[in-house]
């Protein structure tokens, strides 16, 4: 019995709780991705790099003396116009081509490579890290959890809830969903569709930037950090249903638990193959994902 309690306290429970904090982190990154895909039908390959830009902005502003709490507002506010410009300046130009999926995918992929190299030129290749904003740790029934991770879980869940509320419960959200469902009908009813598109893309980019601010103290900052979460985030989006916020949350938390618990049984090297197999299986059995698409029945 004590052996099991020891196992529970030191291995199982911490594993699930740290899995939860990683899950929230992944959902934060995947959220912008799924919204952009659900609405614009654009697979944003540069999403990871926007996450990196957010982290670097937080890092340099932090070193310049801006407090972490202000960064949570400033960085998304800076990313918003950046995302808007990218959508109007680049994506809009190829958006109406017949092979939209291919062209936007290649465009954003190329953009991601450029951004990554620009970060390398400006900040150098070495890893950097902002200080952890909240230090210390608390003891929850014998399980030790750093305060910042607890904050990350709670704040992340609040952000996710707020985004879900805006998309599903507000008039703005209704406009966005209408434009996603049938752009021509929405346009004829007076919805400025192209503005809605650009605004939504910018919103998704701002979410990536926010994720960068939140995760930089935990996972450190370096030019190729964008690739870190992007595969996991794509897997989450595909399993959850492309464009579904609910699906992203459920799939994100589920998959990270699978990862956390499976690494207790098999070597952690297998956790990526296991996740990607789940994704492949999902694409074969239920291509629309756990939940349907945003704005679709």
């Amino acid at each position: 019995m004590t052996a099991f309690l020891d196992y529970f306290q030191f291995v199982l429970a911490p594993q699930m709780i740290t899995g939860l904090s990683l899950g929230v982190a992944v959902v934060l990154v995947a959220l912008g991705l799924t919204i952009i895909f659900g609405l614009l039908d654009v697979i944003n390959m540069a999403h990871g790099e926007f996450y990196a830009v957010g982290a670097y902005l937080a890092l340099s502003l932090g070193f310049a003396g801006v407090s972490f709490w202000l960064l949570l507002i400033i960085v998304p506010a800076v990313m918003l116009p950046l995302g808007y410009i990218v959508e109007r300046g680049l994506i809009q130009r190829v958006f109406n081509k017949p092979d939209r999926h291919v062209t936007t995918l290649l465009l954003t992929f190329g953009l991601g490579l450029v951004v990554e190299d620009v970060l390398k030129v400006i900040f150098g290749g070495n890893t950097q890290r902002p200080p952890t904003p909240i230090s210390g740790a608390i003891d929850i029934m014998g399980v030790l959890l750093p305060n910042y991770r607890l904050f990350l879980i709670l704040f992340g869940l609040a952000v996710i809830a707020a985004v879900a509320l805006v998309v599903n419960r507000t008039r703005l959200g209704a406009v966005v969903r209408a434009a996603a469902f049938d752009r021509n009908m929405a346009a004829s009813l007076g919805v400025p569709v192209s503005q809605v598109y650009a605004g939504t893309f910018a919103f998704g980019v701002a979410l990536a930037g926010l994720a960068g601010v939140l995760l930089a103290p935990v996972f450190s900052v370096f030019p190729t950090m964008g690739r870190d979460f992007i595969f996991l985030a794509f897997t989450v989006v595909i399993v959850g249903g492309m464009g579904s916020i609910m699906g992203t949350v459920v799939a994100g938390l589920l998959l990270t638990q699978v990862q956390a618990l499976s690494s207790l049984i098999v070597s952690p090297v297998w956790s990526d193959p296991i996740l990607f197999s789940i994704m492949v299986l999902m694409l074969v059995v239920r291509p629309q994902g756990l939940f349907g698409r945003l704005g679709h029945a």
């Binding site: 020891d6 196992y7 030191f10 291995v11 199982l12 911490p14 594993q15 740290t18 899995g19 904090s21 990683l22 070495n126 890893t127 950097q128 890290r129 200080p131 952890t132 740790a137 030790l144 750093p146 910042y148 991770r149 935990v218 996972f219 450190s220 370096f222 870190d228 979460f229 956390a260 690494s263 070597s267 952690p268 090297v269 956790s271 990526d272």
Partner: protein, 388 residues
Amino acid sequence: MTKIVLAGLLATTVFTAPALAADPIKIGVVTPLSGTYAPIGQQVRWGLELATKEVNAAGGIMGRQVQLLFEDEEANPAVAVQKADKLFEVQKVDFLTGTVNSGSTLAVGQTAERAGKLIATTVSFADSITTDKCSPNVFRVNARAGQQSAALAAWVVKQKPKAKVFLLGPDYEMGRSTVATFKKRVEGLGATPVGEVFAPLDSKDYTQYFGQLRQARPEVLYTSTAGNDTVRLLTQMQDFGLLSNLLVVGASGTVTSQNISAIGAAAEGFGTGVGYSTQIDNPANKKFVADFKAANKIDPDLYGADSYGLIYFYKAAVEKAQSTDTDKVRAAMRDLSWDTPQGKKTMRAGDHQAIQPMYVVQVSGGAFKVVDQVAGEDAIGPDECARF
């Protein structure tokens, strides 16, 4: 017999002396001057150039000037072999050095055997170069991986006798072999391994191993992660309050100038075994560091120091042999002792591995400080070369 040798020597002197004085001794340097390993190749080059300048200014080797011929091997064994062939066959170099990654050293060693020439590496760590894959034509003047962990293990048990040790390595060849070597060493000195974990390379989150780590209640953690992985491991351990009352030690590439600032306070107290540090307190090293810095505007590192020492090794061997002939120089190199910034090194005849004093360095105030020295004989380990 003596008469014949004497006559031979005399003849050599008489007939070739003018040519010897005019012809420089050529040393080929096949080293990465571009790509990922270029910073290492740069240190190799600076170290060799500084020593060559000093030797030439003091009259050269047996009155002959030393000339270095550089070739870029791009850290690619295939390219290294091609460039080494060119240096041996076309440029007729007397000796060759510079290879950085162990694959290049092993490949160029075979080229040297075919060409009937000698080479030395000043950088490659892999134990195999002077153990199961040893070659009569290959010498190593730098410390191999086993020497570093031997020095570290000796220091760890001195700090914490009968320590409980937890081991964490990246899940690939280097990670597994470093962990296995350190485990064997430290176990032999009375410590108890209480757990080991191999995490995938580029792991995001090390927290998933912290449960096992806490459950094992270790006093010492050994890790051989590198780069970003170390940043995440140590800072996440700090967040989880796991660094208190724990001595963290690791491989020489675990905490470096590239990642130490990102790790910050979490690197404090980290210890590792090294063959060189600019902090080594002896007159030869102080002069070396000052001259190196004056010439290159940068501190020497391990690679610069070992490459610098190599020129003096070759000089001592040629002067002892009174020739640049392969067999004579090989015989002279065996059991040769010579002075370097790291102290006296001795080339072991049985496996062509240099024996040298090893140092333990520990992070204090964001920089490495030398905290202990381990005698060369205690760190060298058995001769495992069976080929010669």
